[in-house]
Symmetry: C2
Subunit: 252 residues, 2 copies
């Protein structure tokens, strides 16, 4: 039985709690946060500064990057392994802890959307083989995809995730905005969006690329730029088109 | 029984052929192209200029935008309805034809990837109610999602499609490139990409947005920009981040 404390009460902490609580091999001994969060069971919740921090084997620190140093100090006297969940912070951000590690699940977490950790890659890092084993064991309970990454790899993965998730989602938003402005039902885009993702599970994105930029169809590109009134969307169109053109000019 | 001729032998023509040929209510009388395409049955294939153009109820013109005017001339004496399949060309591109229309399936077509037209929106336009009815009937045989759009709507939809498909796919490519450069297995991105799309079937993209730009986390943004050595990727990161920041500064 691994004793776990969760530090944080945001989206990730909530999703981790939901997932850990189902596992027999895990006992959640405490959830530590700055303010009471209605989701968490009160008998396990401790507000920072008001109650003692209970002993745990692993403290999972699911707080914003900027709060990690403060949490590291708070847990300075814990003998357990302290692991943050950030894709962009080094292990050394936990400089006050004797045993430090990283437990980074690569996914986009919204409050409203239930996630299944089972398919979510969890990237781990630790300073000793023992602690690495402990994190691996823990991560394997909730995910089938556990991988050891060093800091350089993890931050690259996080950066790549911004491109494939955050920016992609924003492009979906822009696509819908363009439809709305011209009285086109946004649902028309749904099958295309679905196909875009399904396709790259079978074809590398380099081969899956289609469209005017890929074909270097200058007259369509010119018409599109003329249609776009929003300056920022126009710039984006131009930049992405040039990048696609460059990608295929180089490699063909 | 609707008699159809297909003009063109590219990706779209191939996919349409595969779909039409399965329908009892459709007879494909001819496939017309500039050069013999191995896919098409030879007894139905006619090379432009070498054989007569057979009579058909509908000529589906699945050629590149720039070839549409020439095909329009080629079919100038046909009594059938001539419909192009372009998202970006006006109906008037078929100016030599008495009966003209548009039959635009919104999807990304690659040779290697079989598509199911059933879920693909087909956008139609025609100059008479009769011809509109004919296109609607034809489209409904292969798709459950037939919609009448005017030129302004159709070209906006096409532009939106470039954002949600072409540009999104390019972001997937960039994400994978970043991983490859840093020795991170690209498969790690797959569940995140899947979730990105699945999420927006339940949440509008405005609500689904997460990440440093959405949180306005300047220190992560700065680190990411520092990590990016490729000038074009850096510009893209910057522009998309600013656009997300602006979107949420405005609306919150």
């Amino acid at each position: 039985m691994t004793k776990i404390s969760l530090v944080g009460t945001g989206n990730l902490a909530t999703h981790l709690y939901r997932s850990f609580v189902k596992e027999d091999a895990i006992e959640i001994v405490q959830v530590i946060g700055r303010k009471a969060a209605p989701f968490f069971k009160l008998d396990k919740f401790a507000q920072i500064g008001t109650t003692e921090i209970k002993k745990a084997d692993v403290y999972i620190v699911a707080v914003s990057d900027s709060a990690i140093p403060a949490v590291s100090k708070l847990l300075a006297h814990s003998e357990g392994l302290v692991a943050h969940t950030s894709g962009s912070m080094a292990l050394s951000a936990l400089k006050n802890n004797v045993r430090s590690g990283v437990f980074y699940p690569l996914q986009t977490f919204s409050k409203a959307q239930i996630v299944d950790f089972n398919t979510i890659p969890i990237c781990i890092e630790a300073t000793t083989e023992n602690d690495l084993g402990l994190l691996k064991q823990l991560a394997s309970l909730i995910s089938t995809h556990v991988v050891e990454l060093n800091y350089e790899q993890r931050r690259s993965l996080h950066l790549a995730a911004v491109f494939v998730n955050n920016f992609t989602n924003h492009l979906f938003y822009i696509g819908q905005q363009i439809c709305k402005e011209h009285n086109v039902p946004v649902e028309l885009l749904a099958p295309l969006i679905r196909e875009t993702t399904e396709k790259i599970e079978k074809l590398p994105p380099f081969e899956a690329q289609t469209g005017p930029a890929r074909r270097n169809d200058l007259s369509v590109i010119e018409n599109h730029l003329e249609q776009l009134k929003n300056k920022s969307y126009k710039e984006m169109y131009s930049l992405l088109t040039k990048s696609i053109q460059r990608t295929y000019a180089k490699k063909l």
